[in-house]
């Protein structure tokens, strides 16, 4: 159904980003707090419209150009899943207390950059055009450069530079691939492309596969899959808490989202032979290397950053299997990961602030000092570890079932191994920070830590909301699964219909 509504969340974020540049201090902060909430409301309204219309998606032709020539924005359930998770995390991060941010010396403060980042990401999730996707990539990549350089820590600057260079090269490869795809097919519209690429003329054409491989590589760089992972953990661990939370929720996930979109659009019959095996190997290496590196760390933020990598491996793996079951599992796993991982980063930030160190060996006593925070820590850690009845358990189990269904024993084994080491790391975080006696109790000199003074109300609210969502989504897994599977099925079928391609408009 064609509607102008799809552009609303983008406009909300974009204009509030611009508006927040005009002011400073408290006004900017409040704009930044309300804007993602507004976008979230717009997304929910869009979802209502989508479900009421009975169509598989809503779309807006920008400037009322025919989709053959113009850019379309497309909203369907899959973009909804990513958008809602990202925007919830963004809202919570921006409501999270600003005391974790460095004092802005010069240049842009945190809030406008974060809003521009969100604009770019929302655009990337909503667009239905390959070149437009490149433009949104640039929008959020440039804002993320700004965010990386906000912290005054010089080591984090030179680490951030590696991120910058990886991403510049990644976007350049993406642009090359987009151009070559246009040269071969004569269109940039996803729906039209899927129609063309699945025609016989192209399915046996090696050159289009080479170009799609180039596109995949650029997305692997964006998603930080092995061998493009090495910049990530150190750079993330050196960032202030709100920024790293935003990044953990958003940055690598955009690459993952586009890979899922590619699978749905270009390869409804599964990834082509060769490419599929390469993706399996890369996914396995990403999973195992990430989790092993995480297991050897003692700093909480570093453990979490390495886990980002290993979990991207799971997502890529599910994506490469390419069956309906696997894609559904992968999408839900990504959802779980965005919510739980960002929550863990927020809690890690609060604890780092309190204990004055990120080192788990020097932390402890969370259980005695704040029941609420330790309960909120329990949910995402156990969810990440894959313990029932949390969201992470069901999502991880579905991914493993997907690989069992395709009888990939080695990959299943590697998944289980990764899951085991994830359990180890998460147990480490839980035992060291919550169960262990606090430093005060052990030395019995200073007074007991009081987290009620440490964690402000807004921080507790943000952490609690995310934990609550993880819990509820885990308990409501079956309906969520059915709903998502329906989305993936229609996503596949859609590519064989001739909707939204030029003359045959719905």
């Amino acid at each position: 159904m064609s509607t102008l509504w799809v552009i609303i969340p983008l406009l909300v974020l974009f204009f509030s980003a611009g508006l927040s540049l005009l002011f400073t201090g408290l006004i900017t902060r409040w704009i930044a707090r309300l804007a993602p909430l507004g976008a979230l409301v717009a997304i929910l309204v869009l979802l209502l419209k989508l479900e009421n219309s009975g169509q598989p998606y809503l779309w807006t032709p920008l400037g009322a150009w025919s989709p053959q020539f113009g850019i379309v924005l497309v909203f369907d359930r899959i973009s909804f899943l990513f958008l809602v998770a990202t925007l919830i995390v963004a809202t919570m991060t921006l409501w999270f207390s600003p005391r974790f941010l460095p004092e802005p010396k010069k240049g842009l403060p945190f809030e406008p950059l974060a809003l521009f980042l969100l604009t770019g990401i929302t655009g990337a999730f909503l667009t239905g055009d390959l070149f437009n996707l490149y433009v949104w990539f640039e929008v959020f990549v440039i804002s993320s450069f700004g965010l990386f350089f906000l912290s005054q820590n010089p080591t984090s600057h030179s680490l951030a530079l590696k991120y910058v260079i990886m991403n510049v090269i990644g976007t350049m490869l993406f642009l090359t691939a987009a151009g070559l795809i246009y040269g071969q097919t004569g269109t940039l519209n996803f729906a039209r492309l899927s129609e063309l690429i699945n025609q016989e003329e192209f399915t046996n054409n090696p050159s289009i596969h080479a170009v799609l491989f180039l596109l995949t590589v650029s997305l692997l760089i964006k998603g930080s899959v092995f061998p493009f992972i090495f910049w990530l953990p150190k750079a993330y661990a050196s960032l202030p808490t709100p920024i790293v939370t935003l990044f953990a929720a958003c940055l690598t996930k955009v690459g993952v989202y586009v890979l899922y979109r590619m699978t749905l659009t270009f390869f409804p019959l599964g990834w082509p032979e060769g490419l599929k095996e390469i993706l399996f190997v890369l996914a396995a290496l990403t999973m195992v290397l990430g989790v092993l590196a995480a297991a050897s760390q003692w700093e909480q933020k570093k453990i979490l950053s390495f886990h980002i990598i290993s979990q991207v491996g799971y997502m890529i793996f599910a994506c490469a299997i390419g069956t309906e079951w696997a894609l559904t599992a992968g999408l839900l796993f990504t959802m779980h990961n965005i919510l739980a991982k960002s929550n863990l980063f927020l809690i890690a930030g609060v604890m780092e602030e309190r204990f004055g160190t990120d080192d788990l060996r020097k932390q402890g006593g969370l259980m005695q000092s704040s029941r609420f925070l330790s309960f909120c820590l329990l949910i995402p850690t156990f969810s990440m570890a894959g313990l029932p009845p949390f969201f992470g358990f069901f999502a991880k189990m579905s991914v493993i079932f997907a690989s069992l269904k395709e009888q990939m024993w080695v990959m299943t084994l590697l998944c289980l191994l990764t899951a085991f080491f994830t359990l180890y790391s998460m147990a480490k975080i839980w035992l060291e920070s919550a169960m262990k006696a606090g430093p005060a109790q052990r030395s019995s000199k200073s007074e007991e830590f009081d987290f009620r003074k440490v964690a402000l109300k807004t921080e507790k609210a943000a952490i609690g909301t995310l934990a609550f969502l993880s819990l509820v989504l885990g308990l409501a897994y079956a309906p969520l699964w059915n709903w998502t599977e329906q989305a993936v099925k229609t996503g596949f079928q859609l590519e064989h219909t001739k909707l939204m391609t030029g003359s045959k408009q719905p």
Binding site: F145, F149, L161, V168, G179
Partner: protein, 114 residues
């Protein structure tokens, strides 16, 4: 002629990769600039611009409008325009960020210890 354009793009691209591989931040910048120019040339070549008719709309006497079927594709030129602007902006940001760094890190690829 179009083939020459394609080879030019490939040549400039490989030069860019070579400059990046030389190491050091100033060379890296040159390499990135070259690659982004190569991509622009490639996008230009996509439209098969040489020896084609310009995509101009002609009005016939009876009021109808036509475009020659062998006209160049105008869309890649719009793409190049966007790519040039964004590429320049991106490089400008990278230059700014490099200028922010202390001198030592600018020339040094050594990994700092955390």
């Amino acid at each position: 002629m179009n083939v020459i354009l394609v080879f030019l793009a490939a040549f400039v691209f490989s030069m860019g990769v070579y400059w990046i591989c030389l190491g050091g931040f100033s060379r890296l910048l040159v390499g990135l600039l070259l690659i982004s120019q190569a991509i622009n040339v490639m996008l230009f070549a996509l439209a098969k611009p040489v020896s084609a008719i310009p995509p101009l709309i002609k009005s016939l006497p009876d009021g109808q409008t036509v475009v020659a079927s062998s006209a160049t594709d105008p869309l890649p030129q719009a793409l190049i325009l966007t790519a040039i602007v964004i590429g320049m902006g991106l490089i400008a940001v990278v230059v700014y960020l490099l200028a922010q760094l202390p001198n030592k890190t600018r020339t040094d690829w050594e990994e700092p210890h955390l």
